[in-house]
């Protein structure tokens, strides 16, 4: 019974879905009817009450409306010929308006999207058997409410506030001259050694600021480190080659290096030809950097910033060329390759810490302290969540399930 019912419904539905398509397909449609349901002239019974309401009361832009209705008595039983529910939407009570969608039998729920926020809509629904349509069932006019705050993201806002507060407090403390300890970061001292070695050997230093765009925070951190490195090379009068994969990063790097050279009183040592834009294309860039490594023979290769698959291409060539290599990235997927093929690697947060550490600016060190305390807060929250979960209060952890 259930089988045939579906078959009938589907055959009829085909007349819906195929009708109006190319002439070639009209014949089969007829056959579909012959094969399956003889088209009756009786409309299926109308669906039950239709209810419409603003979607997910507080978190959408007021452009969604949620609808529920009850099945038509002829859906799956009775004369069993409902092939679709037709949902209609109108801006006025008088006309049925436009057909929103056709829903297959058995469904009783739909969310209408991309509506005009706040506008009033009249919905009605009918049952359809492929030829005849039932009387429409209407519901009270409804409008989506425009919301100003996404409540499911409250936890994000709260923790962000906590974090910013921590950072700012410690920054202020630092400015007031509070002594802030920062553990030494091995990779950083390595940078100085590397540059020193390049100088002894009278060979250039290669600084790759990653292939991230300047909107990538890793790139910004890299530029900070670059200005530090540039100051050292300027003092030693060691050539500093900076290949970039992004034009904006290139121009920023120019500013940074030029400035650094000026600050240590070596403005003339600055060579604009050494800050180069190579290519936006990832591997064209990597290939060209490899070329630089083999032909201009830098004795120190520094990779700081956002790297993708090219990381190993660079690091392996650099090793073969016999350079000291120090890398720094928060790109988790590439850390294994830097760690295995470079002499030192700044991992994850160390890259950001480095910029603060190098500048020795108390303000920035304050930020580090703030981050550390945020770690404590997060760990505490996890522990608390674990305990509460264990005791069966899941609501606390659920608060962190955001959308």
């Amino acid at each position: 019974m259930e089988r045939t019912c579906v078959a009938l419904a589907v055959a009829a539905l085909l007349t819906v879905s195929l009708a109006g398509t190319a002439g070639a397909q009209e014949a089969p449609v007829e056959e579909a009817l012959l094969d399956a349901a003889p088209p009756d002239s009786v409309a299926p019974a109308a669906p039950g009450a239709l209810a419409a309401r603003d979607y997910l009361d507080s978190n959408d832009a007021g452009d969604k409306i949620e609808l529920d209705w009850e099945l038509s008595p002829d859906d799956g039983e009775g004369s069993c010929d409902v092939v679709a529910y037709r949902l209609w939407r109108s801006q006025s009570a008088s006309s049925p308006g436009e057909l929103v969608t056709e829903l297959s039998p058995g469904q009783t729920h739909y969310v209408d999207q991309n509506l005009e926020p706040g506008a009033q809509y009249y919905y009605s629904i009918t049952a359809y058997d492929g030829t005849n349509e039932s009387a429409p069932i209407a519901c009270a006019p409804v409008s989506g409410r425009v919301n100003l705050f996404q409540t499911t993201r409250l936890s994000i806002l709260v923790l962000m506030a906590v974090f910013f507060a921590l950072v700012l407090i410690f920054t202020k403390l630092a400015e007031r001259g509070a002594e802030l300890f920062v553990r030494r970061i091995p990779g950083l001292n390595a940078i100085e050694e590397a540059v020193g070695r390049a100088t002894e050997m009278g060979r250039p230093v290669l600084y790759v600021p990653g292939i991230g765009e300047i909107d990538n925070i890793m790139t910004i951190a890299s530029l900070t480190i670059l200005s530090h490195v540039a100051k050292i090379t300027a003092r030693y009068e060691t050539p500093l080659i900076v290949p970039t994969a992004r034009a904006v990063v290139m121009s920023a790097a120019e500013e940074v290096v030029k400035q650094a050279y000026a600050e240590v009183g070596q403005p003339d040592a600055y060579n604009p030809d050494n800050i180069r834009y190579l290519s936006d294309a990832q591997f064209a860039f990597a290939g060209a950097v490899n070329g630089i490594m083999l032909r201009e023979k830098p004795a120190a290769n520094l990779y700081m910033g956002a790297f993708w698959a090219e990381s190993l291409l660079l690091a392996e060539t650099g090793f073969e060329a016999g350079a000291i290599q120090v890398a720094g990235t928060a790109m988790v997927s590439q850390l294994p390759f830097f760690v295995t093929s470079c002499d030192f690697t700044l991992m994850g947060e160390e890259l950001y810490a480095a910029s603060a550490y190098l500048s020795r600016e108390p303000k920035l060190l304050g930020g580090l302290k703030g981050s550390d305390w945020m770690k404590v807060v997060t760990i505490a929250l996890m522990a608390l969540g674990a305990i509460l979960n264990f005791m069966g209060f899941e609501s606390f952890v659920n608060w962190f399930q955001t959308q």
């Binding site: 100003l148 993201r153 910013f164 910004i220 904006v248 121009s251 500013e255 291409l313 890259l351 303000k363």
Partner: protein, 214 residues
Amino acid sequence: MRREIPLAITFLIGVFMLVDFFVPHHGVSAAAEEMKQWGTIVIAASILLGVGNLIRVHFRKIRRKSDGWGYSIMTLASMAVMLYFGGPWGTIEEGSAFNWMFLNMQVPLQSTMFSLLAFFIASAAYRAFRLRSAEAGLLLIAAIIVMLGRVPLGQFLTRGLPEKATLPWLTETIMAYPNMAAFRGILMGAALGVMAMGLRIILGIERSYLGGEK
């Protein structure tokens, strides 16, 4: 003044974008979208800076006849050809010369350079995975287990053993627990670094990218 204006702009835009995340109101999100678009435009417009730099560097190389200057001609020439085919009088549609050069020269060149990694990953493994210390040992063992566990060979090597001793099982376990735990830690720490740096940028404390002090 010269510094204040950009920092003020940075601050206002930064805060607005921060707020956008919490406000579903379409007015806000529309404005945010618009500004994101501005960003992409600025980037697109900057490409000329880069290409300009590229041309300058190679042009000087050629003029000074510094070694490899012949290849610099290559670079400039191939770029000129692309610009010719793609210029206003040309077309970049499917099947156009521009498209052909991209598909049959840049794409194979790039994917081949990418595939060099197959060789480098082997040489890196040979060189780096030495039992110098306990930590290095862990690195090495984890790598070997996962490498074998990923291929039929590994499955074959440990056939018949209880399931929890087979290489595939070990591989999945290592990936799913220690590996994931470590990476979650790195990501969480890095996230704090990003946010702190982001805050410093918005507040104008971090300004290195604007070219140091002036």
